[in-house]
């Protein structure tokens, strides 16, 4: 039998010699051009990083091709980033251009550094998950095609991070993204009263509802949903297969903006609702892609150098943002869950 609990391989096996030698000794870095970093060590050593965009879903054959490049230019080492990009680690700057040429041939763009759009964090969607309200990889591909130019250049006011999660579980943890997309449902689960008693634990189902919309239906040994309280999160479906919630016509995508993760300057921020719903329109989700494009453009045009999306909105105010972005503000934008009250404007200080 196989050994259990051996854990991952020790990282030291995975580090190229230059990193081992200069581990913890890096002194500063420069961005030589989009996608190319240079890190300089206290020892004087120089490490070059070439960052290539990845679709994340990789065939093993592609990985092998990537390995070929790493063998050729990087002594057989590479890494992936926290946003799925591939980083080639070079000691010889002369290898940068040939590597980039080879990457181009394989279809991998180089970029994503500095004031740019980098890869979208995203999730499984229809490729592998059972609860999605939209696909993941497909929208991501369509959006990244549209925003490609922002990946291979560094012309935005600051970093702009886009993420997508295909349901409210938010595996993409999009809640702190400059632009976050979430798959949402808009209709209540359809209860299969025959199967609920067989497949589901009623108390667990009831407890799973954030808004206490579910109550027991003792007669049928099933549950009932209070329509007015249900906000279609699908969490009951996660707990109970007999309450499917997918609805092809009404499922779609909500878009949030202005979040950030870093503590640089300002504390991490949640993204906040910009567009409550756009339809699922595969294969290329034109409504969603255009909305994201417009959200990027309005930021690119109006924010000051160094200003993240949310920092820009902080300066101009949400009322100005909705005006500039030409997005109608509705009652849906006003929070109505637990922590709503602190978001209400308790001052006369606002712009017209």
């Amino acid at each position: 039998m196989a050994k259990t609990d051996i854990g991952p391989p020790h990282y030291s096996q995975m580090l190229p010699p230059i990193i081992k030698e200069n581990y913890g000794k890096w002194k500063y870095h420069e961005i030589l051009r989009p996608g190319v970093l240079k890190h300089v060590s206290e020892t004087g050593a120089e490490l070059y990083t070439v960052r290539a965009g990845s679709p994340r879903l990789l065939a093993i054959d592609t990985i092998r091709e990537i390995c070929n490049l790493a063998d050729k230019y990087c002594d057989g080492y590479l890494r992936f980033t926290s946003r799925y990009n591939i980083e080639f680690l070079l000691t010889n700057p002369a290898n940068i251009d040939p590597l980039i040429e080879d990457l181009k041939k394989l279809g991998f763009p180089v970029g994503g550094t500095g004031p740019a759009i980098t890869n979208m964090v995203h999730t499984q969607g229809w490729v592998h998950c059972h609860t999605p309200a939209t696909d993941a990889s497909g929208i991501v591909k369509a959006i990244m095609d549209e925003l490609y130019d922002y990946f291979v250049s560094m012309k935005l006011p600051a970093k702009l991070r886009i993420s997508l999660a295909c349901c409210l579980n938010m595996c993409g943890a999009v809640h702190c993204s400059d632009i976050g997309l979430v798959g949402i449902h808009r209709t209540i689960p359809k209860i299969d009263h025959e199967w609920v008693p067989k497949q589901c634990e009623i108390p667990t189902v009831i407890a799973s509802c954030p808004t206490f919309a579910i109550r027991p239906d003792p007669k049928r040994k099933s549950v009932q949903i209070n329509e007015e309280k249900c906000m279609y999160c699908g969490n009951c479906y996660t707990m109970c297969p007999a309450m499917p919630i997918a609805d092809p016509d009404n499922d779609g995508v909500a878009i949030f903006v202005g979040g950030k993760v870093s503590n640089a300057r300002t504390a991490p921020k949640f993204s906040r609702l910009a567009i409550p719903w756009l339809p699922n329109n595969p294969p290329r989700w034109p409504e969603v892609v255009q909305a994201v494009k417009k959200l990027v453009d309005v930021y690119a045009r109006n924010a000051r150098e160094g200003e993240r999306y949310g920092e820009w909105i902080d300066r101009i105010g949400w009322e100005t943002f909705f005006k500039l972005a030409e997005i109608p503000f509705t009652e849906k934008h006003i929070d109505d869950f637990i922590f709503s009250v602190p978001t209400f404007r308790t001052t006369t200080n606002f712009r017209w």
């Binding site: 259990t4 990789l58 279809g107 059972h130 609860t131 943890a173 809640h175 799973s208 503590n263």
Partner: protein, 396 residues
């Protein structure tokens, strides 16, 4: 597989960004699973809905998690994905790989799986996408032989992850890779055998830039920082000034606490240490001139999570500063205390942050034996709903 069968997906092979459809197609000729995945996905694109059945519990011997069961709802039409389970493989710290290691994984997945992967899952694991139930154990056995192990799933510790840290970054105030590895190894049991109220995630970031999104995405965030003063190299400052960089506008005025001041005549930058909140903005903008201090350690935060149930929480400070030296005993012990309390009081599917919300920081802090400090809050309570401990009451 002939492109004509997937007209919708084919649309996603157009455009400059690398295409996941192309990736699936690459394996479609060799692997029925990949071919039928394509077919089923095309159907989803047509019908605008998923075609996976709900849940399904599968696994490998000795483990309670690490594999996500997945069954097609149309196994007749797409027999290749009738069973299409995912294995989560614990990535090496910082997602560094030798090509040797990657090739090993590819070979194993060629043998047992669909040949499709995610590098990586959004918790950080290597995701091996799609294998039938019967292949799970042999795939695991072979992975294990080559030194790989499963990551977390279910109500357990999830696979910890960390940023590039000292391996590739001058900002790193802690050894993110080593901490991540040490914690992962220490808690193998917690990682592999679900036993808690719900999942628990740990992420390690080397500095306040938080390149691994620890604060929003981990129940327990370890973020590097320093306790003394950041170091300014005035030669470096001069270099930026001479290059025409707007030190006043881009750095000094953006310092959140106005801790910096710049003398443009002397080209000298200075910091009021007691006002610096170590947000690293100035370091980001002038890496050649400014560096973190030397007395380094980590700030520990708790409670981060996504939106279900009680909306998303960002992790909040529970230890402003902890030294981080191997074997990291202090942080390990703190984790144990946290889990013990959570395990005892948490309801099913209640994240630790939600439990603290329900029972109050006062009970949490007492249980894990941490002192209350103002760094834990943006601002103190505004309401007078103050609880008192029995021993504080005057009894006559």
């Amino acid at each position: 597989m002939a492109g004509s069968e997937t007209p919708l997906l084919n649309e996603l092979e157009k455009g400059p960004w690398p295409s996941f459809v192309t990736e699936i197609k690459k394996m479609a000729d060799k692997k029925p699973a990949a071919r039928d995945l394509l077919g089923q996905l095309e159907l989803s694109y047509k019908e605008k809905r998923g075609h996976w059945k709900h849940g399904g519990i599968v696994g490998v011997t000795g483990y309670g998690g690490g594999v996500i069961g997945r069954y097609s709802d149309s196994p007749d039409k797409f027999p290749g994905v009738a069973e299409f389970h995912t294995m989560r493989i614990n990535q090496p710290s910082g997602w560094f790989y030798s090509t040797k290691a990657l090739r090993e994984i590819c070979d194993i997945w060629e043998k047992y799986g669909s040949g499709l992967t995610n590098f990586h899952g959004s918790t950080g694991d290597i995701i091996l996408l799609g294998a039938p139930t019967a292949h799970l154990q042999p795939a695991f056995d072979e992975l294990s032989e080559h030194g790989y192990d499963l990551g977390g799933s279910g109500s357990d510790l999830r696979t910890p992850s960390c940023c590039a840290g000292p391996a590739r970054c001058e900002n790193a105030c802690i050894d993110t890779l080593d901490i991540c590895y040490a914690i992962t190894m220490e808690f193998q049991d917690e990682l592999h055998r679900p036993m808690w109220p719900y999942k628990f995630k740990i992420k390690v970031a080397g500095c306040a830039n938080d390149c691994v999104a620890a604060i929003p995405r981990a129940d327990f965030a370890i973020v590097g920082t320093w306790r003394d003063t950041l170091r300014i190299d005035q030669d470096g400052v001069r270099e930026y000034a001479e290059r025409g960089f707007d030190i006043q506008g881009q750095v000094v005025e953006r310092c959140p606490t106005k801790a910096l001041s710049y003398d443009p005549a002397a080209k000298q930058l200075s910091v009021r240490a007691e006002d610096c909140v170590r947000c690293v903005h100035c370091i980001n903008k002038m890496p050649k001139a400014i560096r973190p201090g030397v007395e380094r350690g980590a700030t520990l935060l708790i409670g981060g999570k996504a939106t279900i149930l009680q909306t998303a929480f960002l992790s909040w400070v529970i230890v402003p500063f902890m030294k981080m030296e191997p074997p990291y005993t202090e942080v390990k012990e703190l984790l144990r205390k946290i889990w013990e309390w959570w395990d005892e009081h948490g309801k099913m599917r209640e994240r630790v942050g939600e439990l603290i919300y329900r029972l109050g920081m006062r009970n949490f802090l007492r249980a894990v034996d941490l002192p209350a400090v103002p760094q834990m809050v943006f601002e103190p309570r505004a309401n007078p709903y103050i609880f008192w401990w029995p021993e504080e009451i005057i009894r006559k």
